[in-house]
């Protein structure tokens, strides 16, 4: 099966700090690839390079076989890449419906059809009753769900979730896990960053462990759990 996303030799430096140091990874359709690592390992930088916020110094990013390195974020979004953020970045003074319409503004579909799709997506995320509220009026957990709904609106092939469970109530966490499983079951490629190893191990088909900007281990959950380099990076000697 061809990879939905491929990263080859990705390097990113901030002044004297090397945040990514030749990262190599690939993920396939319908696969959840967990990305773990201690703070500062380069997880979010990797996501930012993939979706075009940061310009990689070296290396290539391929989405669906097409080279998107150095493309702008909105061009990469049009290649079928969606994402959420560690701290929710919703459009605060827009209604939930309008938040969901933003990623599909360039679609040829008529407005009523898009609004209906947005409402169905909000229903799927248990947010339908709040559809006319401004996003700033939602709780932190609800904003995370809204981001997820917004990400799903254009039906992306690759979704990147940055710490989706951080600061979220366990009940909501369970709901989000079900939704992420549904995304993968629907054929989407999921890149999942989380410090919550229990959720990562439960959801991921494979896991990549990052340390100091390098992939130090990649494999199944069991392989990663027993990998001495990963254990050392997390727990020290």
């Amino acid at each position: 099966m061809s990879a939905a996303i491929e990263v080859h030799g990705l390097r990113k430096r901030f002044g004297g700090l090397t945040a990514l140091d030749g990262v190599e990874l690939e993920a396939h359709p319908a696969e959840v690839l967990g990305i773990i690592g201690v703070n500062g390992a380069g997880k979010t930088t990797l996501m930012n390079c993939i979706c075009g916020i940061y310009r990689a110094d070296e290396g290539r990013v391929m989405i669906g076989g097409r080279d998107v390195t150095h493309r702008t974020p909105h061009e990469i979004a049009h290649h079928g890449v969606g994402r959420t953020f560690q701290i929710p970045r919703v459009f605060r003074k827009m209604s939930l419906i309008d938040n969901l319409l933003v990623p599909v503004l360039d679609r040829d579909e008529a407005d009523p059809a898009l609004i209906e799709r947005a409402e169905n997506t909000l229903e799927h995320m248990n947010l339908i009753e709040l559809r006319h509220n401004f996003a700033e009026e939602l709780s932190g957990g609800q904003q995370k769900l809204l981001e997820m709904a917004r990400m799903l609106m254009p039906d992306p092939t690759v979704v990147m979730l940055d710490e989706p469970f951080a600061g979220v109530h366990p009940t909501l966490c369970k709901f989000m896990i079900e939704r992420i499983e549904a995304m993968a079951a629907g054929g989407k490629t999921v890149l999942l960053i989380s410090h919550d190893l229990t959720s990562i191990y439960r959801l991921s088909h494979r896991v990549a462990a990052l340390n100091e900007g390098r992939v130090i281990a990649m494999g199944s959950v069991d392989e990663i759990r027993s990998n001495p380099a990963v254990v050392e990076a997390y727990l020290g000697n």
Binding site: H74, A77, H78, F91, K93, N99, L105
Partner: protein, 326 residues
Amino acid sequence: MPPESSGAGRSIERASADRIYYTLAAVIGGTVGIYFLVVPVLDLNIAFHFYLMLWITMASAFNVAAGFSGYMPFGFVAFYGVGAFTTAILVKSLGFPVLLALPFSGVAGVILGLLFAPTLRLSGIYFAIVSLALAGICRLVISNMPDHITGGSFGLQLGSRAEPVHSFYVMMAVMLLALGTILWLSRSRLGKALRAVRDDAEAADMMGVNVTRVRLYGWLIAAFFPAVCGGVEAWYTNVVDTETAFNTLTTAKTVIYAVAGGLGTVTGPIVGSVVMVWLDELIWRQFPLLNLLILGVATVMLVLFLPRGIVGTILRRRPEWRRYIP
């Protein structure tokens, strides 16, 4: 009737909300239009109502830059001044009929907007300061142009072309065009994209919004109308000079009126302009010597107690009205 929670129920509810929204827009637009239409007929105060329409247009255009796009152009007067001089120069030096010169004022505003466009990469106070500086530069450039073009320190007089009633109705047409444009913008995809960029440009970019293009479109709409206002006001007063055409008080009043009504809505700048211009007039009549002092205190009180403006505060307290009020 299907329950509101079902898809069909939501569709009916949406259609009903849209009907109320457009009916309200038509009622407000119709009332404003009819009111101003009869001002010359009933021999009401033409000057007062001319400037009321001018401020509604200016505040509404400013709303596109500030309320929809998130910029605070403190040099907004640059578009107004350049528009005023464009009409004056075309009429005085090149013999254009005034009505033909006015669209060129709008074009001049758009061209100036394009020249200022690189500053759109700035945000917040940095954009505001640069905008203010650019307005100063525009003023200096026009001041230093040859006297036979811009009239030097005396400015340009349009001679016997003053037609207060005609210019009044042209101002009304410009105001209605501006309000129609902003009503369309508030519901359009461009309007949604602008609001998304205003709230979080980087997130909007990652959602597929071409931030640079969207910002530019919003900026050019905001630049067009003040330039035309400048041209119409030049026609109305029959004289243009750099001192008045680039007066920073023009920007200050525009900002105050737009903020007083509430940025981000179509009705906010209309309400803000009507309330503040009337208040200004009333205070001026009762306390001519303390006019600016009392108006300043009133503005401070308004911003302190209604930081979201009149319409903004109402919609904050009654969020369910957001879908109905333009």
